[in-house]
């Protein structure tokens, strides 16, 4: 009986590589992982800027990326509540709450070399660059390469290989 108990304890104790994570945390993780596959026009800026329009992540972004670096630059996180407040940024994350305003947002950030990421349904088909969605509890990425090219963003083939690419 003791051996069974000990076996159970050890089994429970073995470090799990991939525990069941919340969708929100996985999205936050993707925001930090994607930049290494992207080349921006100017990577010499002081900060690496992430802007979130109508934040739905609570404090998770700050907790996970506060004091950390992306592309050897300190991460600067900015939360804005309306489109007019969006300024120069490397990444703009657009939560699904903004789905009705999507075309306005995409027009606002057009030609500004901003990587747009969202979980809005049809985001990549509607002109966004990287769409996050979940199928059968697995995170999937969908990339609109034309939109990326329009924004002068270079996406490495390694990312395209693991993503669905919108075809014209």
């Amino acid at each position: 009986m003791y051996k069974l108990f000990l076996f159970t304890v050890i089994l429970l104790s073995i470090q799990s590589l991939f525990a069941y994570e919340s969708e929100e945390k996985l999205k936050v993780a993707v925001i930090g992982k994607v930049p290494k596959f992207i080349t921006w026009e100017n990577e010499e800026k002081e900060h690496f800027s992430i802007t979130v329009l109508n934040n739905q992540f609570g404090n998770t972004l700050n907790e996970k990326y506060g004091g950390k670096k992306i592309k050897d630059r300190d991460i600067k996180i900015r939360y804005v509540d309306n489109i007019e407040e969006i300024e120069d940024t490397d990444i703009l994350y657009i939560p699904s709450i903004n789905s009705n305003k999507l075309s306005l947002i995409i027009n606002k950030v057009a030609n500004k070399n901003i990587l747009t990421i969202s979980d809005i349904r049809g985001f990549a088909d509607k002109g966004g660059i990287i769409q996050i969605n979940f199928v059968s509890q697995k995170l999937k990425l969908k990339i609109n390469l034309d939109s990326a090219n329009r924004e002068n963003l270079e996406i490495r083939s390694a990312l395209l290989r693991i993503s669905d690419v919108v075809k014209r």
């Binding site: 000990l6 104790s13 069941y20 996970k64 789905s99 509890q137 995170l139």
Partner: protein, 766 residues
């Protein structure tokens, strides 16, 4: 210093638990993140939107399509029985219509006290009423086997009353079936198998074709075909010389074709058109009891005959709607759900004794159909911490019972199953409309309260208003406490109010009469009214880590005016005898709001899901359910514990009070192994006013799947691997039912009595 074994284990636990606090997610590569499994979400139980099922304010469980695929099962009823402790679905035989449409229950309650939704929209019930002495007698249920398994993304099961949210029927629970959407590949599965004894051969083929559309739209079509041969577990017929096996007892012969469509066509402007539809056709054959040689049948069947009851079942449903969001973030959804079920009975290899040698041997016995159409408008908006939902529903229902050909009912009627008569015919409809409002306020990230109310008005029995309060509180991040209290109802079905079936025995009529028929009224029958319920649950979820959770929930459900089909009653008073004589009736039964019941119990569920290194995954689920059903009060004198012992004992003891499911799934590289143990507690069945007990049993199922290539999987497995059989009737020495009788096993057996089933299966993705 000597450290005890217990202390060692505790130290290891504490040490490793602290290690687990390391945040690996943000150290993992993007490729690894994309391989992780995200939280499992469920929509049912709240109108707030899908959320982690472990954070639900009411107990919710989810079965995923991966789990369904690994079970090796081919019917939705069996899938639910396999995964859900407290879900009961016996396999009956020699029970007329109930052999062809399986009844199922949750927590030992009635089959019609479960609401089934498809993508959140109501699915119609079967037109069949179970009228024989089976689990679920007197009720109709949704025919779950009309739904193709391959079309299913996941099944959400709400274990709570929810009539204040969804309306009638949501008493013992709600099953919400979510159909596959975007992101699946087209595939085809072929499965063949048979029972250990060499019978019950089954061929099952299903295919999913998927077409992605712009803006993440899709068209998914699923086709499935089942060809099932009967099993034979009958005992010898001692009426024959020499005794021999003639009657068929086991699962029926049937062919089933099912097609499912699920499509969403989103527009650029965020308007989404959606439609899902299911078509099902089943041709099912089961037998009645063998008719030994007799004077009446000597010409046509000198050696006796076995009447075959054939049910042809058509089932269609279509849900279509459009949804969108206004600029002020108000979400709207306008939809229509149509459902239709038609069952026609034919009796073959039989005869009508009254017609003698001129009798046909095949009969068209009539049948029934049920149509339901619901139109819904749902609105939803979130304002800061408040989520509000409101809506309107209009529903139209029509029930029709049609007579059979005259040869099927004149005189003695066709042997095995007498046809429906002209006086049994019914064509009734009703309408209902409902308004609901549902609000959830999240006081903090850890404390939430939901209030819901629904007003409903039915054209046949009037109106009802129901309420629900549910709350959850995370005391610490790992521990969520939850509780809910609600009222509910179940509208009497049109079938219960209008079904009748009479036949002639010895020159006198007997059978089922409508509650408003003079015969029923003389026994005190009244127009049926709604069953009313109250619910209370309290429990919690302890989740020390993402991959380990323990749910414990206590539940209490009281149902007043539960509808039952009465016993066969004979006239006791002069007035009753006079009316029975006037109609030439010897015995009568009818539906009545007979009893008040109490159901209470507990669900304990442990989930452990671990992904190890080197492509190894272990999933363990342990689920124990205890439920106790008891009759608290009797309404009137037509149904009492004394005159309806069998009916009452079926409610209280006919189903296992305890059940256990242990599911272990292990995946290593290309090999997936799934082992399932199902424990069924004891139950009783009454024969001739004597209760017989059937012992608790444990069955085991095994599935081994090999991923031969990226596009092909090969599987083999067994359902009921060790061919566990239920007890035979102990100390019952009858001819039809008994230890060595034609039917040696109880039809209440929660896992049937056909023994082990072995299969091989292959799947191709394309």
């Amino acid at each position: 210093m000597r450290i005890s074994k217990t202390k060692t284990a505790i130290l290891i636990t504490l040490f490793t638990t602290s290690l687990l606090r390391a945040d690996d997610l943000f150290e993992a590569s993007l490729e690894d993140i994309m391989q992780m499994q995200s939280e499992l979400k469920a929509d049912v139980g709240s109108r707030e939107g899908a959320k982690n099922f472990l954070d639900s304010r009411s107990p919710v469980d989810v079965i995923t399509h991966e789990q369904i695929e690994r079970s090796g099962l081919t019917s939705l009823t069996n899938v639910l029985r396999y995964f859900v402790a407290g879900f009961n679905a016996p396999e009956t035989s020699v029970a007329d219509g109930s052999d062809h449409v399986r009844a199922f229950t949750l927590r030992g309650m009635s089959p019609d006290q479960i609401l089934v939704l498809i993508n959140g929209k109501r699915l119609h019930a079967s037109s069949l009423l179970h009228v024989n002495d089976v689990i679920g007698r007197g009720s109709s249920n949704v025919d779950l086997d009309t739904i193709s398994l391959k079309a299913i993304e996941k099944i959400e099961i709400l274990r709570d009353g929810a009539a204040a949210q969804y309306g009638s029927d949501a008493i013992s629970g709600v099953i919400n079936i979510i159909l596959k959407g975007i992101g699946h590949s087209s595939s085809i599965d072929i499965s063949v198998g048979q029972r250990e004894l060499g019978d019950g051969e089954k061929l099952y083929t299903e295919a999913l074709f998927t077409l992605p559309l712009k803006y993440d739209g899709f068209i998914n079509t699923t086709l499935s075909l089942t060809d099932q041969k009967q099993t034979q577990r009958a005992g010898v017929d001692k009426r024959l010389t020499p005794p021999s096996v003639k009657t068929h007892a086991g699962i029926p012969d049937y062919q089933n074709f099912a097609a499912t469509l699920n499509a969403e066509i989103p527009q650029k402007n965020n308007i989404n058109f959606y439609v899902n539809s299911m078509l099902n056709y089943r041709d099912s054959e089961a037998s009645a009891f063998f008719r030994p040689p007799s004077l009446e049948s000597a010409t046509l069947y000198p050696t006796g005959f076995l009447p075959i009851i054939n049910a042809k079942i058509h089932d269609y449903s279509l849900r279509a709607g459009v949804q969108g969001e206004f600029d002020n973030a108000l979400k709207w959804d306008f939809s229509n759900a149509f459902g239709y079920n038609d069952i026609r009975f034919h009796v073959d290899e039989s005869m009508n004794y009254t017609l003698g040698a001129n009798s046909p041997i095949s009969f068209s016995n009539g049948g029934f159909n049920f149509l339901q159409n619901s139109t819904n408008l749902d609105l939803k908006k979130s304002i800061d911490r408040l989520s509000l939902a409101s809506g309107f529903e209009y529903r139209y229902e029509k029930y029709r019972l049609e007579q059979g050909e005259s040869a099927s009912f004149v005189g003695t009627g066709s042997q095995g199953f007498s046809g429906y008569r002209a006086e049994n015919e019914a064509k009734e409809s009703r309408e209902s409309y409902a308004f609901y409002i549902d609000g959830t306020y999240n006081f903090t990230d850890d404390l939430s309260l939901e209030c819901a109310s629904r007003y409903e008005n039915y054209s046949d029995f009037g109106s009802t208003t129901n309420f629900k309060l549910a709350s959850s509180y995370k005391i610490i991040p790992q521990l969520l406490l939850r509780s809910s209290a609600s009222t509910g109802f179940r509208a009497p079905s049109l079938a219960q109010s209008n079904y009748s079936h009479t036949s002639t025995f010895g020159g006198l009529i007997e059978g089922t009469f409508r509650p408003e028929h003079e015969i029923a009224k003389t026994f005190g029958a009244k127009k049926l009214t709604a069953e009313e319920s109250t619910h209370f649950t309290i429990g919690g979820v302890y989740q020390p880590r993402q991959d380990l959770s323990l749910m414990i929930d206590y539940f209490l459900t009281n149902v007043d005016d539960r509808i039952m089909l009465s016993n066969n009653l004979i006239g006791a008073t002069d007035a009753q005898k006079r009316i029975l004589a006037a109609y030439g009736v010897s015995k009568a039964r009818f539906f009545t709001n007979a009893i008040d019941t109490k159901t209470h119990g507990v669900d304990i569920k442990l989930n452990f899901n671990r992904d190890f290194t080197h492509n190894k995954k272990l999933n363990v689920g342990i689920w124990y359910n205890y439920n106790k059903n008891s009759v608290q009060a009797f309404n009137g004198t037509t149904t009492t514990r004394e005159n309806s012992y069998e009916q009452i004992d079926r409610v209280e003891n006919g189903q296992p009070k305890s059940s256990l499911r242990v599911l272990i799934s292990y995946e290593q590289n290309k090999l997936l192994t799934t082992l399932n143990f199902s424990g069924y507690g004891s139950y009783r069945q009454v024969r001739d006013n004597q209760a017989y007990k059937f012992n608790s049993k444990l069955t085991s199922d095994l599935d081994i799947t090999y991923k031969a290539t990226k596009k092909m999987k090969l599987s083999m497995g067994a359902i009921n691997l060790f061919s566990t059989m239920p007890n035979r009737w102990n100390d019952l020495s009858g001819t039809l039912y008994g230890y060595n009788a034609i039917k040696p096993y109880s039809r209440y057996s929660p896992f049937g009595y056909s023994g082990a089933f072995f299969y091989v299966r292959t799947r191709f993705d394309f």
